[in-house]
């Protein structure tokens, strides 16, 4: 636990000391504003909720999370600092968990920075703050799942560009799996069971139900297990690198 904490602190520290943190938060805020107000018709809808804001999160994460996660391991592989880290008394599990937690906490900080939006709806109307809270939680859980995929993709390559693209593609698959376009197109020729299981694999399906204000154990468990599976895959990839 101690080692995880130390690795996490160092990683988080490097986000802020390389200015990555500030650039990322700025872009995240600008884009989420653009999506909410222009594409989401925040005002025109005339409803005091944050649905237009949260609806775009899967798409926003699709290219922002890979930007955050691509450096997790690729940078260490490139600079050789991974050799330093893994010859210090830490296990690979500690290192993977610490780095992931840093990225996830940072994603949480970015999300919290959108609080002016929450203040705005509360000023304009009388929104259901419970729904908003669960939506934030759902969005954060989903960001964690994106990041876990990104962590694994980053461990696959020394190149951050490759890590970025791989992560984007895999995440796209996970998002698209629940999109009506995909589901409708396969509905006609595969059994319903398959359609349901494809849909149940999707980030969208689970995120939508949480952002409607319902925290079901199923959805939370889904996101958590996606994270665990991909982080375990990261451990396997790094282990394989050592015994190649």
């Amino acid at each position: 636990m101690r080692a995880i904490n130390i690795v996490m602190k160092r990683e988080l520290d490097s986000y802020f000391s390389t200015h990555l943190a500030y650039v990322f938060i700025l872009i995240f805020l600008v884009l989420s504003g653009v999506f909410t107000f222009y594409l989401g018709n925040f005002y025109e809808r005339g409803q005091a909720d944050l649905l237009p804001f949260f609806n775009f999160h899967p798409w926003l994460y699709l290219f922002l999370v890979p930007a955050l996660s691509m450096r997790l391991w690729a940078e260490e592989l490139k600079s050789g600092s991974i050799e330093l880290l893994l010859t210090l008394p830490v296990t690979i599990v500690d290192a993977v968990a610490g780095k992931f937690l840093a990225a996830w906490i940072f994603a949480g900080i970015s999300l919290m920075m959108t609080f002016p939006l929450w203040l705005t709806v509360n000023y304009l109307g009388d929104p259901d703050n419970g729904v908003i809270f669960t939506s934030y939680l759902g969005s954060w859980l989903m960001a964690g799942s994106f990041l876990a995929i990104g962590s694994c993709m980053s461990a696959l390559s020394k190149s951050q560009v490759i890590a970025f693209i791989l992560c984007g593609v895999v995440c796209l698959l996970f998002v698209l799996a629940g999109y009506p376009l995909v589901l409708n197109s396969i509905k006609t020729w595969v059994p319903l069971v398959v359609v349901d299981s494809v849909a149940s694999l999707s980030f969208l399906t689970h995120f939508n139900s949480i952002s409607r204000g319902i925290i079901s154990l199923r959805d939370v468990l889904y996101f958590c297990s996606v994270q665990v599976v991909w982080l375990a895959a990261t451990v396997v990839v790094i282990n394989a690198r050592q015994s190649r």
Partner: protein
């Protein structure tokens, strides 16, 4: 104590370490020599638990590295090749991070930091980002990181690479000062470094141990060991000298430089000790010459050992 037995590491079809066995006891400073790609770094990476061996075992103080890597890593201080670090951090933050992972807390961290900063003379760069430091300082930060927990075993992969002569001297002094009850393994290309700091020299090539001896023994293996070079000032002296010394070098042809009036005679079993014989002879003949006694040339030993291995392969 480090026990390496029948260590093999292959990357695909390339065999980097080939059935290597070594036993290293506390107090030894072992110089790891070999041409590039000989398997020095790979062996060090396995010792420190970074790479897993294809077969064979490494035991450190009786603990198998593969079975309990974390315990072994606690005993070892390691400077990887090229001294990698988290370059965006300042020296202070970086060393604090290492000290924390080494298990120190609170005031202990400050104490350990002060100590290594003092030993490696890092106080001028303590609050600078590592990426802005010169190669020499980066290397020193890397060494500081490796000795911060006063490890029983210190493994340094090319610690003086890229340092200027003063810094090299400083690092060698440091290594000499450390030893006593520690095991220190240093890999290097610089042969003089081995005679300067090491108590044991191991030459490897193609993943195999070719030579394992004291550095001074290595020097005696050179054909230049005990050789004598004579330099005359004029041609008449030179030719007289050549005739006079002929008897001394019956079994080993000398190197002759006619233009510089230089003559290098090699010592053989019959002419030992050569220097004494030569000075006596010169007195008898009445030739004035500059006499230079040669030490062994490590470069030449190194080349002959690694080359003959290539020929055998």
């Amino acid at each position: 104590m480090i026990e390496i037995s029948h260590l093999v590491k292959s990357f695909g079809s390339l065999v980097a370490v080939d059935n290597l066995s070594l036993r290293i006891v506390p107090g030894e400073i072992l110089g790891f020599l070999g041409p590039n790609g000989a398997g020095k770094s790979t062996t060090m990476k396995i010792l420190t638990g970074y790479l897993k061996p294809t077969s064979g075992t490494v035991k450190v103080n009786g603990i198998n590295v593969e079975q309990d890597p974390v315990s072994v890593k606690q005993l070892i201080g390691y400077l990887p090749e090229g001294a990698p670090a988290y370059e965006e951090m300042t020296t202070r933050r970086f060393l604090t991070f290492i000290a924390e992972l080494r298990g120190y807390t609170g005031l202990e961290i400050v104490k350990r930091l002060d100590h290594v900063v003092d030993v490696m003379s890092l106080s001028s760069v303590i609050d600078r980002r590592i990426e802005t430091l010169s190669k020499g300082f980066k290397r020193r930060v890397g060494i500081a990181q490796a000795i911060i927990h006063d490890p029983k075993i210190l493994i340094l992969d090319e610690p003086t690479d890229g340092l200027d002569p003063n810094q090299k001297h400083q690092v060698r002094e440091l290594i000499r000062g450390l030893s006593k009850d520690k095991i220190i393994i240093v890999s290097t290309h610089i042969l003089e470094e081995v005679t300067a700091v090491c108590s044991r020299a191991v030459i490897i090539s193609d993943g195999k141990v070719l030579e394992d001896c004291e550095p001074s023994t290595l020097e005696t293996r050179s054909k230049y060991h005990g050789a004598v070079t004579l330099i005359c000032s004029c041609e008449t002296d030179f030719s007289r000298m050549r005739v006079a010394t002929k008897a001394l070098v019956a079994d080993m042809p000398p190197i002759v430089d006619e233009d510089a009036f230089r003559l290098t005679l090699f010592q053989s079993e019959s002419s030992r000790p050569l220097l004494l014989h030569v000075t006596k002879l010169l007195e008898e003949v009445g030739v004035v010459a500059e006499v230079v006694s040669e030490k062994g040339r490590l470069d030449e030993v190194f080349r002959s050992i690694t080359k003959s291995a290539e020929v055998l392969a």
